[in-house]
Amino acid sequence: MRTRIGLALVTLVAAFSLAYAQKGTLEVAVDQAPVGLDPDIVTAFSSFAVVNEIYEGLVGVNAQLQIEPALATSWTVSPDGLSYTFELRQGVKFHNGREMTSADVVYSFDRIMDPKTGSPQASRFNEVAKAEATGPYQVTFTLKEPFAPFLSNLTNLFVVPKEVVEANGDLQKVAVGTGPFELDQVVPDTYVLLKANPDYYRPGEPKLAAIKFNVVPEASTRAAGLRTGTYQLLPTVDPVTAETLKKTSGVTVLGTQDLAYSLLGLNTSRKPFDDPRVREAINYAVDRSEIVQAVYLGNAVPGGPISPALKDWAVPTSDFPCYTPSVAKAKQLLADAGYPNGFSTTIITFGTIKEVADTAQVLQAQLARVGIDAKVDVEEFGKFVQDWKNSNFDMFVSLNGGSVDPDGYLYRTFITGGSTNVFKFSDPSVDQLLKQGRTTPDTAQRQAIYDNLQKQLACTGPIVHIAYGTLFTALRDNVQGFQQMPTRGLTYLRETSLP
């Protein structure tokens, strides 16, 4: 009897603390199970989809790609651009009930920078000298030199509770954050269940009582599940499935410009790709609009080094002469470089993303037109990642993730020795511009630098940029309030509701 009274009391208290009703379980279907949940360790998109609901940073990104307050309510930048001071939101609680303070922010930063953590986020903060708690609700970051992308990089600094990390070693299997949803249950290869955080600080959010990320590997099965109503949201839908779902009643398909791009990567430490004329020839050989039609069914735009979604930064492709396909020019350039009869080479790629493997097939046919005989090797994904990391390729076709700041697109990828410069590309003038771009605070000056960089990289860089696809999300008509993000993030699940 006592337990029943206790239960009733708990229910009563819970009911009063909620000024609104959280209801419904949103059934989401994803292609892969998350591989670990530690926001500072994971790299897989399947993990971030879940992690993003559980953890938050000082600042966030909205659907228009603008930086907006999250755990910090406001911030000031010193005139020399070297010091950022953040005022934290007060009364924010971790899912374990403890209040979040400035000490947690400093701890989270130090954890990322600690080599023992092995965090892939660490290189984003190399320009930061230190983070200090300058008050219980105030944190100050001191930079080594002015660093324009700092705020957008800061969206990747998730605030984690020290005691949970210490009790578990890492956060791969437990998850305690400040986000709108908390981890309820993980059933491997089956689903991840999140439930609403009743203490979330944004009024009226989240609106859902729970989200279930169902793991469904087959694309046609996910589509069938959405048609029958088994699932209510498919976060990423390939263009072919999107076309068929558009015609299905009761289903809405949303589309937005993706920040990620498909690319043909060239190993500039190997012949003949060390010759810029060969790289330019390949650009002339590639017919991007044909790939857009064949692979994306028209749902993509040819693009350069920066996504057209970053309207303030991207140079229109009409400014890149090599984006007008020409077999004659390609052959001329190849002949100039000493390959009048073309050459034989290998393209490695992987099969888990259909658009990627399909792009490789179309590229193979296009390269054949100018005498380049490319063998396509569809590798198993794990092997591909290793070959990619170790620069063990002539050419590869893949999909590269994007960023909300041009520095995120270009720096790590093109700087000499950069962490994702697997092409072994090295060009002193590019290096210099990349450094200027990140240390120049003035936006207009930065734009000029990045315009210059894009024109330098588009035709003779180590990457043949192919296309920025339309990112499709499909949902049942009864799902309200969801907005798509070009970053592929599911931030707006907190505003999503079911009737």
Partner: protein, 316 residues
């Protein structure tokens, strides 16, 4: 008989030992490294850290030491620990076994229930149009790839029977009806080749028995056709059917691996495909060892049952 059983058991131990060596070697020869793949596209990690991770997993030891450690663990009932989840391999397998076991057993049952009448009808009406239809259909059944049948059925159901819960898995214990509804399509898809295979075997073995001397004798004694068929012929004709069930189970399992992928069923098939993609060495080894052990034991039991049913069988 006892000597035969003992010898088979000794052989069984050697077979399993061989399997364990083979699996262990194959897993190590798969290109790609467990630690590298676990780190994924993370390019910021230091070599020290990679070495530490490898050491923590015991992957820096010489290969024969690794094998010995694993084997002694297995003999003590410890299949090791999954690299990615940190859970015991035995737990991982036990968690997935029910779904796979359920599909397999239901498909086997369905195949037996359908193949018996089909085989009898086909054999009795040998050469008739009905016989031809059954024979052709049974070849079609053997021909259609399971994944294709699965995708097609899912498509048809989602278009014309959208209310049917066709995808995913719920345990029988919590939702008996939901479980059976979700099992229906995968079970049919997986059992098609087995129905076809068993029908063919039963048909030809019935024909053989019906043409044999003792059936002719029974007939000449004036026994009616039905008792001859059901009391004498069918019982004898079933013997080869029983013996191939063990082999057929292997084929069935192949279908299950594929169908779990199509219907998003968290079974052993999904587990091993994921384990291979992750180079999750202990998990791959554990799954293959357990499955082959089950498989070998089932085949032994089938052989023993066969010897017991038909005393004429000589033990080699």
């Amino acid at each position: 008989m006892i000597g035969y059983v003992a010898r088979r058991l000794v052989d069984l131990v050697f077979v399993l030992l061989g399997v364990s060596v083979l699996v262990f070697l194959m897993v190590r020869f798969i290109p790609g490294d467990a630690v590298e793949i676990m780190l994924g596209a993370n390019t910021d990690i230091t070599p020290d850290r990679v070495a530490a991770l490898r050491h923590g997993l015991g992957l820096d030891l010489p290969i024969h030491v690794q094998y010995w450690n694993w084997l002694t663990g297995v003999l003590h009932g410890d299949l090791g620990t999954s690299i990615w989840t940190g859970r015991p391999v035995a737990d991982e397998i036990l968690a997935r076994a029910p779904a796979t076991l359920e599909i397999t057993l239901l498909a086997l049952a369905l195949a037996l229930v359908l193949a018996l009448p089909l085989g009898v009808v086909s054999a009795r009406a040998r050469g008739s149009a009905g016989d031809l239809v059954v024979r052709l259909l049974s070849i079609v059944g053997l021909t259609l790839p399971t994944f294709w049948v699965g995708v097609l059925m899912l498509l048809v159901f989602s278009l014309y029977l959208p209310g049917w819960p066709a995808i995913g898995y719920v345990p029988f214990a919590t939702q008996p009806l939901g479980n059976l509804a979700r099992m229906a399509l995968p079970v049919v898809a997986v059992s098609l080749p087995m129905i076809a295979g068993l029908t063919r075997i039963l048909r030809s073995s019935l024909l053989e028995v019906l043409g044999s001397d003792y059936v002719r004798t029974a007939r000449s004694k004036g026994l009616a056709e039905r008792p001859v068929l059901y009391k004498h012929a069918l019982r004898n004709a079933l013997i080869p059917v029983v013996t191939v069930i063990g082999v057929q189970l292997g084929y069935l399992l192949s279908g299950v691996v594929v169908i779990e992928q199509v219907f998003a069923i968290p079974g052993i098939g999904r587990l091993i495909i994921g384990a291979i993609n992750q180079r999750n060495y202990p998990l791959i080894q554990g799954i293959v060892l357990v499955i082959t052990a089950v498989f070998v034991v089932v085949n032994l039991l089938v052989d023993l049952a066969y010897a017991w049913i038909d005393p004429r069988v000589e033990y080699e």
